[in-house]
């Protein structure tokens, strides 16, 4: 344990994965997070190890080998449905309980009204004092902040410039190029994968591996390749033609 905490501290200094806990609910949120990461890690490792183990254990040992038919098992199906159901329900109820706990300020909290203006924060104390851009809170007492915005509703700058449809600093440029490079990049990846698969299929066909009874790999490769084709059918006019007539 000591070694792990030293290691975590070393990672933490380079890569702040877990910020310092600065609120009373942070510990609970961290615990929920550890549960999520733990469940995910456990099943990812289990599934990947099982895939590799079965791939080796049940490999085809000679060319004429045909696999035995697989008989279903109701108890097995029930087990691997009910256990994940319970685990995910724990995620849901734990997360929901924490969320509602976070939303609910304590009953005895004193309310401070904060108004966000252009360009300052105005704080109104319950006793009537006002402050600008500073907040002094009573020591050892629970408080809650009621935050209001008085400006920029009409510009939809609230809840923030990132929720604007247009880019706040230019003429849609950043939004467009984010889409552009994500879309064309992913299409290029799909095409590189497709060219690889097609090359393998050509090689296999050249070696006479396909017959009138066995051609599904060709069929499926065709389906994949034309899926990429359809994506480009829509992307090409959207990225290069629409709005470019000027």
């Amino acid at each position: 344990m000591a070694l792990i905490s030293v290691l975590l501290a070393a990672i933490q200094s380079e890569l702040p994965l877990f910020p310092d806990r600065t609120s009373s609910v942070a510990r609970n949120v961290d615990h929920l997070y550890f549960y999520l990461v733990g469940v995910t890690l456990f099943f990812s490792i289990l599934i990947f190890l099982t895939i590799f183990y079965f791939a080796i254990r049940y490999r085809r040992r000679h060319a004429g080998e045909r696999p035995l038919p697989i008989a279903g098992s109701l108890p097995l199906e029930l087990v691997w449905s009910i256990i994940p159901l319970c685990l995910t329900m724990i995620m849901f109820f734990w997360g929901a309980a924490l969320f509602f706990h976070l939303l609910q300020p304590p009953d005895d909290a004193t309310q401070f009204t904060v108004v966000a203006k252009q360009w300052m924060w105005k704080v109104q104390h319950p006793e009537g004092q006002r402050e600008i851009n500073e907040l002094h809170v009573p020591f050892g007492r629970r408080i809650k902040l009621k935050i209001e915005y008085s400006h920029k509703f009409h510009d939809r700058l609230v809840p923030g410039p990132n929720f604007l449809f247009a880019d706040p600093r230019g003429e849609h440029a950043e939004l467009f190029y984010s889409f552009y490079f994500a879309m064309t990049g992913f299409l290029a990846l799909h095409m590189i994968v497709g060219i690889g698969i097609l090359a393998v299929i050509i090689w296999l066909a050249h070696r006479g591996r396909f017959t009138a009874d066995y051609y599904n790999p060709i069929e499926n490769t065709g389906l994949y390749w034309h899926f990429v084709n359809i994506v480009w059918t829509f992307l090409f006019p959207l990225l290069y033609l629409v709005g470019h007539h000027r």
Binding site: H154, N216, L223, T233, P237, L241, V242, H245
Partner: protein, 96 residues
């Protein structure tokens, strides 16, 4: 999973390919005119037409099992839900 017993003739493939090339040329041609909002409508109409050529012939849906049709339709319906709900947000923003 024999999706297709049907063998499509090269002649049909070439015909579909030429139709798709024609569609691409039409998309580029129509994009040269300023039609306002209709530009995107025209571009998408041509793209949908091209897709309805690719899916039945290149992807053999036309010769497939009826269950395959159901799955293809489910994909389209899902796409309509995704785009429809996104547009329901974007197009109503101006109403504020």
């Amino acid at each position: 999973m024999n999706t297709s017993e049907h063998i499509v003739s090269p002649r049909l493939y070439v015909a579909v390919f030429l139709a798709l090339m024609l569609g691409t040329a039409a998309t580029v041609w129509v994009a040269r005119f300023d039609l306002g909002q209709l530009n995107i409508v025209a571009a998408m109409a041509i793209a949908v037409t091209k897709a309805t050529l690719v899916v039945p012939y290149f992807m053999h849906l036309r010769y497939g099992h009826k269950l395959t049709w159901v799955f293809a339709a489910a994909g389209v319906i899902w796409l309509v839900i995704l785009i429809g709900l996104t547009m329901a947000d974007i197009l109503t923003r101006a109403l504020g």
